[in-house]
C-alpha cells in the first residue's frame, strides 16, 4: 500500500477489512463443515469445526478447576424428588405430571403411565433402569425411546398377536450407576420383569461418576455394598473433605467401582434367572464425545458376560447433533433424538440374535427366525 493511500485510509479501514474478513471466514468455515462432513477425507476437519460450534460439549464438564467451578451451571430439581436416608438418597415422587413437573410418573413412582405391580397375563415385561437420558429429560414420556420401543414391539408383534410387550421405565434423573444398579436389584424384581435393560451412558461413567459416593459420604449414609465400602475405605474419603477433594480421592477408583457395580447387577439378575441387556446410550454431543468417553471403559464393557447393544452411533448422521437436543446447550435428546435411538435399538436387537432372543423370550435359533419374520413383515408394510 503506498504512502498516500495509507494516509487516506488511516488505520480504521484496514482494521475494519481485516476483522470483516475474519468474521466472514468464520461463517464460511461453519457452512463448509457440512460439505466436508460428506467426504471421508474432510470428516475429521468437519468434526473439529462442529466441536468449536458446539455448546453441548461443555454441559457435562470434564474438568473441575477454579474457573470451571465459577462458570458452572447448577440446576436443581428438588421439588420432583422424595429425599430419605436410603442408599439411593432420593427417588421420584409419584404422580408427577408433565404440565407441572416436566416429568411424568405414575402412582408407583415409575416414569410413564400407570402399570400394575403384577405382570398382566400374556405380557412380556422389559424393565429399563437408567438416569436422565432414559427418563427422557426434556421430552414427554410417550416420546422417550423406551415408550417408542414398546410401541414398535407391539406394532410388529414378533411373538404373535397373543402377546404384548410392556416397557417399564425405572429410571430417575440425576442417578449415577450405583443408584441405577440398586434400583435394578431392589425395585425391579417386584414388577416381575422378563428382561432387564441397563442404560449405561457417559454421564454415569465420566467426571461425575462418583457423585453418589460423594453424597453418601457427606450425608453419612452406609454405602450398602461391600465393594463400595471397600472403595470408600481405600480412598480414605471422609465427611471432613470438601466435595472436590472427595472427587479427587475417588478418581483412581473409577474402573474398580464400575466393575463392582456391573458385577453386582449381573449376579443379582442371574439369581432371578432373567436376562440382562446393557444399552450404550448416547448423549447429544458433537465430535463423537460420548464414544470417546465410553471408550475409556471399553475394558469393563468387554468383560461383561451379557449382550451389549451399542446405540452410540444413533446420531452419526448428524454433524451438529445440537438439533437433536431437548434444549439449546443441553446433552439430553429431544423427541427426534429419542426416535432415532428407538429405531436403532430395534434394529440392533434384531441384528444380535442372543439379545433379540432375550427380548422375545425365545431360544436363540427361534429368535433368529422371529427376527427374519419381523423384518419381512416390516418390508411388506
Amino acid at each position: 500500500m503506498n504512502q498516500s493511500l495509507r494516509r487516506k485510509l488511516g488505520s480504521f479501514w484496514p482494521a475494519t477489512a481485516l476483522t470483516a474478513v475474519t468474521l466472514i471466514a468464520m461463517g464460511v468455515v461453519a457452512q463448509a463443515s457440512t460439505v466436508l462432513f460428506k467426504s471421508p477425507a474432510g470428516r475429521p476437519a468437519a468434526i473439529l469445526i462442529a466441536v468449536m460450534r458446539s455448546r453441548e460439549i461443555l454441559d457435562n464438564a470434564g474438568v473441575r478447576g477454579y474457573y470451571e467451578r465459577l462458570l458452572g451451571k447448577y440446576g436443581k430439581m428438588d421439588q420432583d424428588y422424595i429425599y430419605d436416608r436410603s442408599f439411593r438418597i432420593f427417588r421420584f415422587k409419584p404422580n408427577l405430571t408433565w404440565e407441572h413437573d416436566h416429568v411424568t410418573t405414575n402412582s408407583l413412582g415409575l416414569v410413564g403411565p400407570e402399570v400394575s405391580l403384577r405382570k398382566p397375563p400374556h405380557t412380556r415385561r422389559l424393565a429399563i433402569v437408567g438416569a436422565s437420558l432414559t427418563t427422557g429429560q426434556g421430552v414427554q414420556y410417550k416420546e422417550t425411546y423406551g415408550a417408542l420401543f414398546e410401541n414398535r414391539l407391539n406394532a410388529m408383534q414378533p411373538n404373535g398377536p397373543g402377546e404384548r410387550f410392556e416397557v417399564l421405565n425405572l429410571s430417575c434423573i440425576s442417578y449415577t450407576l450405583p443408584q441405577i444398579v440398586d434400583t435394578a436389584i431392589e425395585d425391579a424384581p417386584r414388577f416381575e420383569p422378563d428382561v432387564y435393560m441397563l442404560d449405561l451412558n457417559e454421564l454415569a461413567i465420566s467426571t461425575e461418576w462418583s457423585r453418589h459416593l460423594v453424597q453418601l459420604t457427606q450425608l453419612g449414609i452406609d454405602p450398602k455394598y461391600d465393594f463400595l465400602r471397600d472403595i470408600v475405605r481405600s480412598a480414605e474419603v471422609s465427611r471432613q473433605d470438601s466435595t472436590d477433594v472427595m472427587y479427587g480421592k475417588l478418581a483412581p477408583y473409577r474402573l474398580a467401582t464400575l466393575r463392582g457395580e456391573l458385577r453386582a447387577l449381573e449376579a443379582s439378575v442371574a439369581s432371578h434367572h432373567v436376562p440382562l441387556l446393557v444399552l450404550l446410550i448416547p448423549a447429544v454431543e458433537a465430535g463423537d464425545l460420548c464414544k470417546r468417553r465410553m471408550s475409556t471403559i471399553a475394558d469393563v464393557i468387554h468383560e461383561l458376560d451379557v449382550p451389549v447393544i451399542d446405540l452410540l452411533d444413533s446420531y452419526d448422521e448428524y454433524l451438529n447433533p445440537s438439533v437433536l437436543a431437548a434444549f439449546p446447550g443441553d446433552v439430553h435428546p429431544n423427541h427426534r433424538g429419542h426416535a432415532l435411538m428407538a429405531e436403532n435399538l430395534y434394529r440392533k436387537l434384531q441384528a444380535q440374535p442372543d439379545a433379540w432372543a432375550a427380548v422375545l423370550g425365545h431360544p436363540v435359533a427361534g429368535a433368529r427366525a422371529a427376527a427374519d419374520a419381523a423384518h419381512a413383515s416390516a418390508s411388506m408394510k
Binding site: A15, M26, G27, A30, G65, G248, K249, P252
Partner: protein, 443 residues
C-alpha cells in the same frame, strides 16, 4: 518507576490526551461511512454468535441489546450518550435477569450510591457500605434473607470488587460522586451474563472515555470481541481434547504432558469472555486497555503477572501494592517492594475464595490454592530479585538474546503449566496421583 511489579502500567493515560469534555466531544463526532463499517461488522458478529452458538440465549439477547444500543448511542448528542447508556443498561437488567433480581440489584446499587454520597465523614460512609455487604454475605451464607439465590452471583459479579475500587477512587480522588458515571461503571450489560468479569478500574474507565477517535475505539472493541469469540471456540477444542484425560486415564508421560498443557489452555475461556466484555464497552467510547495480552508468551513470572488478567493485577497494585509500598518505603525501597508484592499475593489468595463464595455460594479455600498463590508470589519476587541483579550485567545481543528469550518463554510456560495443574487439582494427593500414575503404566 521503582516498583517493579507495576513497571508496565496497564492503564496508561497518554499525557497528550485531555479528558476535557471538548476533546471528548471532538473524538465522539459521527461519520456516516465509518459508522456503516462498524455496523456491518457488528452484523457479521451477530451472525457468528449464532453460527458458533456462543454462550446461551441470554448472551445472544444481551449482544442484541448492546448492538442496538450502539446504533442509537452513536448518533446521540454527546451529553445524552452516557445517560442513554445508563438507561439501556438498567433496562437491560430487567430483560436479562429474572424477577426480582433486577429490582434488588438496582435498589441495592442505589442504596450504595446514596451511602457513598452522604455528607458524613468518608470512613462512616465506608462503614455503611461494608454493612450492606455484611448483611448480604450473611444472606448468601445462610439463605435466611428473602432474596433469591441467583441474586448473589449477579450482585457479586458486579459489586464486590468494583465497589472497593470505586470507594478508593472517590475517597482519594477529587471527582464528585455522580449518578450516571456510577450507573455506567457498575451496571454494565455483559456483566449480567458474565458474572466472572474483569475488575475494571473506575478512574481508567472515566479517563479513557473518548481519549481518541470513537471509530478507532469501537473498531478495536469489535476486534477484541472477535478475538474473544475465537478464543471461546478454541476453548471448546481444548476442552474436547482434554476431556479424555480423566486422572485414571493419564497412563503415559505423553498423556500427562498433554493433560497439563490443555489444562493450562482452559484459561482461554476466561480470556475470551474478558475480551468480549471489554470489547463491548469500547462500542460506547470507553477506550479500556486489554484484559489479557499474549500471556502464553510471557518470558518470566513477573512478565506473566503483567500479561494475564491485567485488570486483576491493576486492582491488586492499586488497592494493596501501593498502600503497603508507600507505608514501608522508609525502611528501604527493595524491602518495601518485596513486602508489597507479598501482600498482593496474600490478597489474591484470599479474594479468589471470596469471589467463589459470591458466585457459587461456596468458600473454596484449599491447600492447593495456598500452595499455588504462595509459589506464584515467590516466583514473581524471585524474578524481581533476579532482574534487579541482572541489571548490573551487560545484556546479551543478537541470536544469543533471542535464544535466551525463547528459553525463558518455554521455561515460564512449562513452570506455569505445572503450577496450573496443581491449582486445578482438588488436593495435593490428587495432583501427586496425576503426576505419578503414568509411571506404573496406569495400573
Amino acid at each position: 518507576m521503582g516498583h517493579d511489579i507495576t513497571a508496565i502500567a496497564a492503564n496508561p493515560v497518554p499525557s497528550a490526551i485531555s479528558d476535557s469534555s471538548a476533546a471528548q466531544r471532538k473524538f465522539a463526532a459521527p461519520d456516516l461511512w465509518r459508522f456503516c463499517g462498524l455496523a456491518a461488522q457488528l452484523a457479521l458478529l451477530m451472525a457468528v454468535f449464532r453460527l458458533y452458538h456462543v454462550e446461551d440465549l441470554a448472551f445472544q439477547t444481551m449482544a442484541n441489546i448492546v448492538c442496538g444500543a450502539f446504533l442509537v448511542h452513536y448518533w446521540l448528542p454527546f451529553r445524552w450518550q452516557e445517560p442513554f447508556l445508563a438507561a439501556v443498561s438498567i433496562g437491560g437488567a430487567f430483560l436479562l435477569l429474572h424477577k426480582p433480581v433486577p429490582e434488588l440489584l438496582v435498589a441495592i446499587g442505589l442504596l450504595l450510591f446514596l451511602f457513598l454520597r452522604l455528607p458524613i465523614r468518608f470512613r462512616w460512609r465506608l462503614v455503611l457500605v461494608a454493612g450492606v455487604l455484611a448483611v448480604l454475605i450473611y444472606g448468601c451464607a445462610t439463605g435466611r434473607l428473602p432474596i433469591p439465590g441467583p441474586f448473589y452471583a449477579v450482585f457479586g459479579g458486579i459489586f464486590i470488587f468494583r465497589i472497593v475500587i470505586y470507594a478508593y477512587d472517590v475517597g482519594y480522588g477529587e471527582e464528585p460522586i455522580e449518578l450516571v458515571p456510577f450507573l455506567n461503571y457498575f451496571f454494565i450489560l455483559p456483566n449480567y451474563i458474565f458474572t466472572l468479569f474483569p475488575v475494571i478500574d473506575y478512574q481508567t474507565m472515566r479517563h479513557t472515555r473518548y481519549q481518541r477517535d470513537t471509530h478507532q475505539i469501537a473498531q478495536q472493541g469489535i476486534q477484541w470481541i472477535a478475538r474473544g469469540v475465537i478464543q471461546l471456540c478454541l476453548y471448546r477444542l481444548v476442552f474436547y481434547f482434554n476431556d479424555q484425560y480423566l486422572p485414571d486415564r493419564v497412563t503415559s508421560l505423553r498423556s500427562l504432558v498433554t493433560n497439563m498443557v490443555l489444562t493450562y489452555l482452559l484459561y482461554l475461556n476466561v480470556s475470551g469472555r474478558f475480551h468480549i466484555a471489554v470489547g463491548m464497552l469500547h462500542l460506547f467510547g470507553y477506550d479500556l486497555p486489554e484484559t489479557n495480552r499474549k500471556y502464553l508468551l510471557a518470558n518470566s513470572f513477573k512478565d506473566l503477572w503483567r500479561r494475564i488478567n491485567i485488570y486483576w493485577k491493576d486492582f491488586m497494585v492499586k488497592v494493596f501494592y501501593y498502600p503497603v509500598y508507600f507505608k514501608l518505603r522508609k525502611r528501604g525501597d527493595f524491602q518495601a517492594q518485596m513486602l508489597a508484592t507479598a501482600a498482593v499475593f496474600v490478597a489474591s489468595w484470599l479474594l479468589h475464595p471470596y469471589m467463589s463464595f459470591w458466585l457459587i455460594g461456596r468458600w473454596t479455600f484449599s491447600w492447593v490454592d495456598t500452595i499455588f498463590w504462595a509459589v506464584l508470589g515467590a516466583l514473581v519476587m524471585l524474578t524481581t530479585l533476579y532482574e534487579r541483579r541482572r541489571k548490573k550485567k551487560p545484556r546479551l545481543r543478537g541470536w544469543q538474546a533471542s535464544g535466551l528469550h525463547a528459553l525463558q518463554v518455554l521455561g515460564t510456560f512449562t513452570a506455569m503449566t505445572i503450577l496450573w495443574s496443581l491449582w486445578y487439582s482438588p488436593d495435593f494427593r490428587s495432583w501427586t496421583y496425576l503426576m505419578t500414575h503414568w509411571m506404573g503404566g496406569g495400573r
